[in-house]
């Protein structure tokens, strides 16, 4: 018996509006389609009426989880057009916040994944541990999201010695907690039964469909903007890019678990070796010459690109933001095929989707 099962756009189990249609035969999904745009805010258009400082505030509101990544990437585009050289200390502070953001974003996703597979005690434990990262971010910036740590020409706020000590203490605590969580993820039978060989995306499909970030790395593609095209002093730090070849939901979990450790390594190096000097260039309102640039940043979900065109005026002539979920979402129907309806929620969630970013 064939059925078409609509999920969303407004559905109790969805945090954000997305519409998926599952074409099923019995319990098995034969094909699927996804639709967006239920929360499209036209941020790219609004950016054309904002100056370069106002746009930092605007693009920070694209996403509530990786909010630091947007002004970071936007600022890189402006600075490249304007030929600005950012002070080393400012670059390191940007990296510290970006990696702290990756930590809490991955833990948020681990929690949601556990909740979906019905492992609620683990979900609560992970989100409890995540609070350690949120507390540090709040202490550095004053906010749990929208940290406003970026300005054109560097970082807006400094990280003093006291905060450095607190970050290092937090990383030490987190490292112990993470080892326990890692063991559970790698050895628990319930997690393995729900995720092994579920929602498989082959390397060929991932390459063909243009998957990015941890989603692509779980399918055997070695891609990471931090290594391919280093920026903001990422080449100063020693870290590995975990790549797995299974391409199933478990591989996506494990890639993120391993990536979490690498992020802790980066934060530790950046905090310990934080250079002395200015944190920014002291630019109040940048004069951006005629030009264009595409800046890229490896956000927790993959590659984010900002294409900025300046006509030499006070506002952005065109700002085009393309987010990792826009690149990863086309893979969803291919992963769903042949799986059961009960696994569809987990498979969609396994790309760590952010529809708020996609409906920018």
């Amino acid at each position: 018996m064939s059925y078409t099962i609509p999920i969303g756009p407004n559905h109790p189990s969805l945090e954000e509006p997305i519409h998926a249609k599952l074409y099923t035969e019995g319990e098995i999904i034969k094909d699927a389609e996804v639709f967006f745009g239920y929360n499209h805010r036209g941020i790219e258009k609004i950016a054309q009426e904002r100056n370069f400082i106002q746009t930092l505030v605007l693009v920070e509101r694209v996403c509530g989880i990786c909010s630091h990544s947007y002004p970071f990437t936007y600022a890189m585009a402006v600075e490249n057009i304007s030929n600005m050289e950012i002070p080393k200390r400012g670059q390191y502070i940007r990296v510290i916040i970006a990696e702290l953001e990756r930590l809490h974003s991955h833990y948020l996703w681990f929690g949601i994944a556990c909740h979906i597979i019905g492992f609620d005690s683990m979900f609560m434990h992970i989100w409890n541990v995540r609070e350690k990262v949120m507390d540090i971010l709040e202490e550095i910036s004053g906010n749990r999201v929208n940290y406003a740590m970026i300005t054109i020409g560097g970082a807006r706020r400094d990280i003093d010695d006291e905060k450095r000590k607190k970050i290092l203490k937090m990383i030490e605590d987190l490292s112990n907690e993470h080892n326990r969580i890692k063991d559970i993820f790698l050895t628990d039978k319930t997690i393995a039964m729900r995720t092994k060989k579920v929602g498989v995306l082959s390397k060929d499909d991932a390459l063909r469909l243009g998957a990015v970030g941890p989603h692509a790395r779980a399918s055997g593609i070695n891609t990471d903007v931090r290594k391919n095209a280093p920026y903001s002093s990422y080449d100063d730090f020693e870290f590995d890019v975990p790549v797995l070849s299974n391409g199933d939901v478990l591989a996506r979990v494990v890639v993120r678990v391993l990536e979490f450790q690498e992020s802790m390594k980066i934060i530790k190096q950046a905090v310990e070796n934080l250079p002395l000097g200015a944190i920014n260039l002291g630019v109040k309102m940048p004069k951006v010459p005629f030009g264009e640039f595409t800046a890229r940043h490896e956000v927790p979900r993959g590659q984010l690109s900002h294409y900025l065109i300046s006509d030499g005026g006070q506002t952005n002539y065109r700002l085009s933001i393309h987010v990792p979920t826009f690149k990863n979402a086309p893979t969803i129907p291919f992963m769903l095929r042949g799986n059961t309806i009960a696994d569809s929620g987990l498979i969609i969630a396994s790309i760590d989707p952010c529809f708020s970013c996609t409906d920018r």
Partner: protein, 110 residues
């Protein structure tokens, strides 16, 4: 250090460049589009070549060939997005409904 290189091409070169890039194993980072000050459509095909973005820009086309047969959905989705947002059509692009904008929105008025 990230780099950016722009080349202006005409619409007959789009498919050849995409095929060559695909053959070399280059990733299509994104297709961007906008309307310039003269009111002409500008579509920029951006590929990753090591640490550089190579952008191939087509100015003034209203009907462009699709590269979705080369880069599959990685190209089809941005092409669908720009069909909805600016007055440009991609020849050969298979479309099933709107991706972002409501179905009731008029063509090319996004």
């Amino acid at each position: 250090m990230q780099k950016y290189k722009k080349t202006t091409i005409n619409k007959n070169q789009i498919v050849d460049i995409a095929s060559n890039m695909k053959k070399d194993g280059r990733q299509l980072v994104m297709i961007h589009g906008y309307v310039d000050k003269e009111g002409q459509n500008v579509v920029s095909y951006q590929y990753e070549v090591k640490n550089c973005i190579e952008a191939y820009e087509v100015v003034g086309g209203k009907l462009l060939p699709t590269i979705s047969h080369i880069y599959d959905l990685a190209a089809a989705w941005p092409e669908r997005e720009f069909e909805e947002l600016i007055d440009v059509k991609f020849e050969g692009l298979k479309i099933k409904g709107r991706l972002f904008m409501p179905d009731t929105m008029l063509e090319g008025q996004g």
